[in-house]
Amino acid sequence: MAVDARCRVRRAVARVLGLACVLFLTGCATANGPDPLAPMNRRFYAFNSATDRLIMSPVARAYKTVTPKPLRASLTNFFHNVAYPDVIVNDFLQGRLGQGVDDIGRFVVNSTIGLFGLFDVATPLGLKAHVEDAGLTLGRWGVGRGPYLVLPFVGPDTLRNTPSLVMGIFTNVLYYVGAPAVTVPLTVFDVINARANASASLRYVRENAVDKYVFTRDAYLQHRNYLQDGGHLPLKAVEQMMMPPGPAPAPPDPPPLADPAPRPRVVVTIPGRPDVAIRPPVPAG
């Protein structure tokens, strides 16, 4: 159904805000590499955090107070379902034909038997949800990740992933519903619901991170790598991490005392455990 351009723009902005919130919430991991835009990113990160603290967090708290958990779960299912065509389109763009067919089945089942997506009846039938988007598609096509970005109102992102923001608008069912009286309130609900769902994750970051920006960046990038790999553990990266570190970069302060101990693991005592002061590696074979 056609709508006038102003309404389209309004909805598009609202969808971006919705996506932003979701990304803001889910964003956290580094498989790192350099962060050339760190100074700008940190400023936007602070802006997003303040916006969340002053506006989104209180609104999400009030929303959780007045909506019972089953209703929130159903709304989450609904918003997930209306955005699901994005996954289907990207399945096919990546050449994952079988997964694409399964995802069409999932979308049809949840949209019909699941009452417009309010209930996820597809998962118990074996049609599990997948995560695909334009950024993952570009990655599969061999496009480099580009620099890490923090976008105002959107949150963690990478340059390669930015087309997802636009594609997510045009592949969302709500974009084609046409009546702003329906879509605008729904989009607002989508944003608030996503923020409410992310409360626990955000609280974890707030309570446990010693550098929230770095924590969020590394968690986000690691998780994106994981999704890029089809949800498989990046074993090589994990194994690499367990290898002894190389020499320290610059020596601004005291000169090195000794090379870092390699695999023979423990170098100092654990508090209260003098017995484990030195533990040689298990001999191979």
Binding site: A29, N208, V210, F215, D218, Q222, V238, P251, L257, V267
Partner: protein, 212 residues
């Protein structure tokens, strides 16, 4: 293929399967079994602490988890890796102070996060040998039967014991996260600032009950 040949082929396949079931699998299980047992025991402790979370209180949970973490994690080695190349620049006293604060923070974090039970359960999915004779134990965390996260443990043999050296949740490595944060703080502000930050975090998460 004649029916007789097909029959022989099927019999061969069954025998191979039977051999794997009786010989191959236990041999593999013997390699990964001790590592799996360490993870399972630690997860059981977490669930037990969550179930008794309220009556135990923070200090009670901390008291139960400290020995469990020491028994199952190679905390000193993890601490060393989190500092990456900077570990080599620390004095023995600094290393000791860091491992002490890191151990406390690790346990305090568990005690703060796993404070109440609401239907959580851990399920083992698989285990496999990886590089350096380490074992990767793949598990899932569910709440009331719904999958919440994939949690993988890297377990390493040290001194005849198996100990957890890294935990990866949904592809996000706890060790990598800590390394990125800690080295960033050292780079900008130096090691004393990092130590002070960890100690402050211990005090914050324990609501002042513990000092770093």
């Amino acid at each position: 293929m004649t029916r007789q040949e097909a029959g022989r082929w099927m019999a061969g396949a069954w025998m191979a399967a039977a051999w794997l079931a009786t010989v191959g699998v236990p041999a593999y299980a013997a390699q990964t079994g001790p590592a799996v047992a360490v993870v399972r025991h630690f997860q059981n402790t977490l669930i037990a602490v969550m179930k008794a979370g309220k009556p135990l209180g923070f200090k009670g949970r901390y008291g139960k988890l400290m020995p469990a973490v020491r028994k199952s994690h190679d905390v000193a080695y993890i601490a060393q890796l989190t500092l990456g190349p900077y570990w080599g620049r620390l004095t023995a006293a600094e290393r000791h102070a860091f491992v002490h604060a890191f151990t406390k923070l690790t346990v305090v974090t568990y005690a703060a996060q796993f404070r109440r039970y609401s239907g959580q359960a851990f399920h083992r999915v698989a285990s496999q040998m990886v590089a350096q004779r380490d074992v990767l134990v793949e598990t899932e965390l569910t709440t009331h039967g719904h999958k919440e996260a994939t949690i993988d443990y890297l377990v390493a043999p040290t001194g005849g014991r198996w100990e957890i050296v890294n935990i990866v949740a949904n592809g996000v490595s706890d060790l990598a996260l800590k390394q990125a944060q800690y080295t960033a703080i050292i780079r900008k502000k130096g090691f004393p600032a990092l130590l002070a930050t960890l100690r402050a975090k211990v005090a914050q998460l324990s609501h002042g009950a513990l000092k770093g």
